[in-house]
Amino acid sequence: MQKGEMYVGWSTKEDVRKRGGSGGLVTSMLAAALEKKLVDAVVVLKKINEFEAVPIITSDVNEVLNSAGSLHSVPSHFAKLIANRDLKIALPAKGCDVRGIIEQGKRNAINLDNTFIVGLNCGGSMHPAVTREMLEVMYKIKPEDVHGEEIEKGKLIFETKDGKEHAITIDELEEKGYGRRESCRYCTIKVPNNSDIACGNWGVTGDLVGKATFVEINSEKGVKLLQNAIDAGYVQVQKPDEKAVAIRVRIKGVMEDLGKKWKNKIFVPIDNRLEYFRKELEHCIDCGACKTVCPTCSCGDVSKCTEYHSRSDAYRMSMYHLVRFLHLADACIGCGQCSDVCPVDIPLTRLYRRFANPVQEQLKYEPGMDMRKPPYFEVKLNE
């Protein structure tokens, strides 16, 4: 087994297969890593209800086996959770999680050699509050009646407890302001090849649909993770056929193109930009949540954006935001966490991307995709 290889696999444990989606491969791989002492701890989502789960770090294999799997309506981010904890850890990660973890690694807050990242293909996540409203307004079903949810062929399908399925196309939902979070719509990292091993159901064909996971090994750590799970008897794999590989590539391409379309749709040029930013920021209450939650910020409590900003400043624009705009110009990964937690609903991710898009394009630098040093810290600019 080596880097670059692809497999289709599933859990050997029947209850895990039943509970987890797509054959329970990810859950089993994490459990095996913990069981065989490849890592000391694992991050899992502890399910609270159909729309809510909380990420926890655990060393208990049972917690892992009983975890929620992935939920589309739990847009949490794991990079800050494991930062500065110095753990030998394995965790599942969406594209944006992986990017945050790598950026924390560059800033010495996470030791990447000790971090096993199981990447998850991700077409986007939804805000739980928006999802609830969407269920009532668009689907006309009570959130409490929802039993399961999946995305198939561009449709978001909810299954209710009476066994009925309710499907609406994602396009229609997003037209009405529901559906995925805005940052997910224009995200173009659908298959996280920056992780150690990328997993997902794209490319699973025939009888295996819904019962297996397609994996691509991206690093030596990825090899270790999968080999360990196979050796421990937790997981079985087989080689995918060429058709399956091609299908996966096609889905990835379609999703990425859709992301680019959204990007062009959202980031139209603005004329009076200073006024635009001032208007968007005028309700800011200085809570600092956007910085606390930001997965690429590793400054801690003492940071330029907060130390040079005072609530007694009567500036036309706060120093806090100016410094954040500058720092995020090369660091923003567009994960959308800041918009999620803003108490006055400032579309922060959109604002940060306004600065990050041109800078990252000009410098040909994509944060969190590899170990390249942020260009701001280069000694000499490569012209």
Binding site: F277, P358, P375, E378
Partner: protein, 152 residues
């Protein structure tokens, strides 16, 4: 017309003089400013010089602060590339400046309000011309939109 553009139209006709913060490095551009005076090259009274040991010391934060406190323009000056007295300080200036330029532009501040120039200690005339040119550009633009209320 917005209140601000009305103010700037007013400023243009009333002999308004912009205030510009000019960061000069100790070894080159500050010397350039000095030679400009010694050589009696005419220049407007718009510049407020802040001397730093090296242009590499200038943090984007300083530039933001100048704007927020009411500067109509901020000029970053230093030694010519290759002439830095600390080997490569001005290379770092250039890296930071490129970021800063992008951010300030995206923010919607006119590009004339933030400028970078390399000036050696002997280039007094170049310094005076630079100040004169920028002052003329800023006079056309009017006061900075970031100028706080009550600051002239």
């Amino acid at each position: 017309m917005t209140e601000e553009s009305a103010a700037s139209a007013d400023a243009k006709t009333n002999g308004w003089e912009p205030k510009m913060v000019v960061f000069c490095c100790n070894w080159c551009s500050y010397g350039g400013a000095d030679s400009a005076g010694m050589g009696r090259f005419q220049q407007p009274a718009s510049a407020r010089i802040i001397r730093v040991m090296c242009s590499g010391r200038i943090d984007p934060l300083h530039v933001f602060n100048a704007f927020l406190e009411g500067a109509d323009a901020v000029l970053v000056t230093g030694c010519h590339i290759g002439d830095c007295h600390y080997v490569n300080g001005n290379d770092k200036t250039k890296i930071k400046y490129r970021y800063l330029e992008n951010v300030v532009h995206e923010l919607g501040i006119e590009k004339e309000r933030l400028q970078l120039n390399w000036i050696s200690a002997s280039e007094g005339e170049r310094f005076a011309n630079f100040i004169r040119d920028v002052t003329a550009q800023i006079k056309k633009l009017g006061p900075s939109p970031l100028k706080p209320e009550g600051v002239a």
